[in-house]
Structures are given as structure tokens and as C-alpha cells.
Symmetry: C2
Subunit: 129 residues, 2 copies
DNA sequence: CTGTATCCGATAAGATACTG
DNA sequence: CAGTATCTTATCGGATACAG
């Protein structure tokens, strides 16, 4: 990961245009990255180590999880603590801003639950038996 | 646009996993698409025709704008009205859900403004002269 | 245990040409 | 005016191998 964007691309120019217009676009670019919200929610619930988050989110890969932790730290939404034990241990915790974001995301989550287009109804079908 | 996802990909499986886990992920996938929020805000402000939105959002392309309108309509966030005049005219307006989403987005916008990592400070630099 | 480096396939964004 | 069809490129997500 950590590949730099090609500054000559239209893609880059447009994203920059949007981010300068409103910081919302930068934040959305972050929180919409795959797994980001789930990682955030894991930490909120106290599942706060590399391994435990990886287990909780069955399919996430090392590469992506490491990248997501790095991003969340960069944006000061989580903080990282390294414990010098043997074997060593790393824990992530939400910052105040991180907690605030979680709360906002939960509001959006309620909203999306109420959107008919989301939650494609046929997903459950518990009519068996 | 409108290219179908390859159902055999890990990419697809993971996104499906997340969307089934929480509808938040589906909504985020939508609102984080480039220009979506800006289009929504344009409509909210009464800039509600293809041409006028295109002019307001300098760099957006026809292809993308059409796709965004289609998505917003599909999710029932905006509704489309065709006026049979000569030349004909099409107007988009927010639905109740669309208005509700705008309000939520504005809250997140306030939050992102307060995040130090967003709004990279050096963007203004009005110290000249 | 907690990551990093490198490479590759899938998807999103956009350019261009065209239509009723 | 308000789009659609087709193609190209950039970026993202992920697999694999490896490291402190």
C-alpha cells in the first residue's frame, strides 16, 4: 500500500478539488475505505489488538489491516501503545475524536437501516421450519 | 459505468460480507463515491438540473454526473421530474430521505472541519503582501 | 506477534464520440 | 438539453513471501 497518487492525473486533481472545497470529502474518503468502520467499531468494543481484530473480521488481510491502523492513527482517531513484554503486545484505543466519529457513524447506521434500498430484504428469510 | 462486479472475486465477497454485516457499509460505499455529496448539496440548494450542476462542479464529466444522478435516484434520495417543454427540462429534487441524509452529512462536515488531519493548514497562506 | 515489500487483479473515474 | 456506449487509466484491495 502507501502508493502515492499520481499528481498529474485528472483523478488526483478532482479529488484535491473536492477536498479543498470541503473537508467532508477527505473524511469520507477515509471512512469509506474498506474495513475502516469495522476496525473502528472493534476498537470501540475493546477488541484492540492486531490479532484479535483480524480474527473478528474474518476475511481482512494483514496488509489491509496494518494500513487501516496506520490511517486511523495518522488521522488521530486511534492511538497506539506498545508494551515491551515478551512477547511484545500492541494495543489500539480510540482517541476522543475517534469516539466522536463512532457516535456519528452509529447515527448514519441507523439512517441506513431505515433506507429501503439498503438492507436488501431477502437476506434473511427465516421462514423455514 | 454500470459495470457488474465479478462475483468470484475476493473483493466482491468482502464487500458483500461487510454490507450484510451492517447497512452502514452500503451507504458509505454510496456517499463516498466521488462528487456524490456535492451533487446532493447542489440539489439541496436548488441547483437541480443536469447542466447547472455540471457548471457548478467545474470538473465533473457527463458520464459521472449521469451515473451519480442515477444512483441517487435508485437509493430514493432524489426524485426526477421530466417537463415536456421545448426544449424539454429535467429537474431533480431531494426526497425526505435525501434531505435527512444531507443533514447528517452536514454534521459530519462539522466534525471533519474540527479534525486537525483534515484541512491541511498550508492550503491558504494569505500572508502575502 | 505485529507488521513490511512487492506484485497483480478488480473496480472506479474519466475521455471521447455519439443520440433522441 | 440530458444523457448513453465504449474504451483507457489510476487507484484500491488483496495474495504471497518475508522480517524484527
Amino acid at each position: 500500500m502507501a502508493t502515492e497518487r499520481k499528481v498529474t492525473s485528472t483523478n488526483y486533481r478532482n479529488q484535491s478539488f473536492l477536498e479543498e472545497k470541503c473537508s467532508l470529502n477527505e473524511l469520507l474518503d477515509l471512512v469509506s475505505k474498506r474495513w475502516i468502520c469495522e476496525v473502528l467499531f472493534c476498537i470501540e468494543e475493546g477488541i484492540n489488538r492486531f490479532k484479535s481484530v483480524k480474527e473478528e473480521l474474518s476475511y481482512i488481510s494483514d496488509t489491509i489491516l496494518a494500513d487501516r491502523f496506520r490511517l486511523l492513527e495518522k488521522y488521530d482517531l486511534v492511538s497506539k501503545e506498545h508494551f515491551d513484554e515478551i512477547p511484545f503486545r500492541v494495543e489500539y484505543t480510540l482517541t476522543e475524536k475517534g469516539q466522536e466519529l463512532c457516535t456519528l457513524l452509529e447515527q448514519i447506521c441507523n439512517f441506513s437501516d431505515s433506507l429501503p434500498a439498503c438492507k436488501i430484504e431477502s437476506k434473511k428469510k427465516t421462514t423455514s421450519g
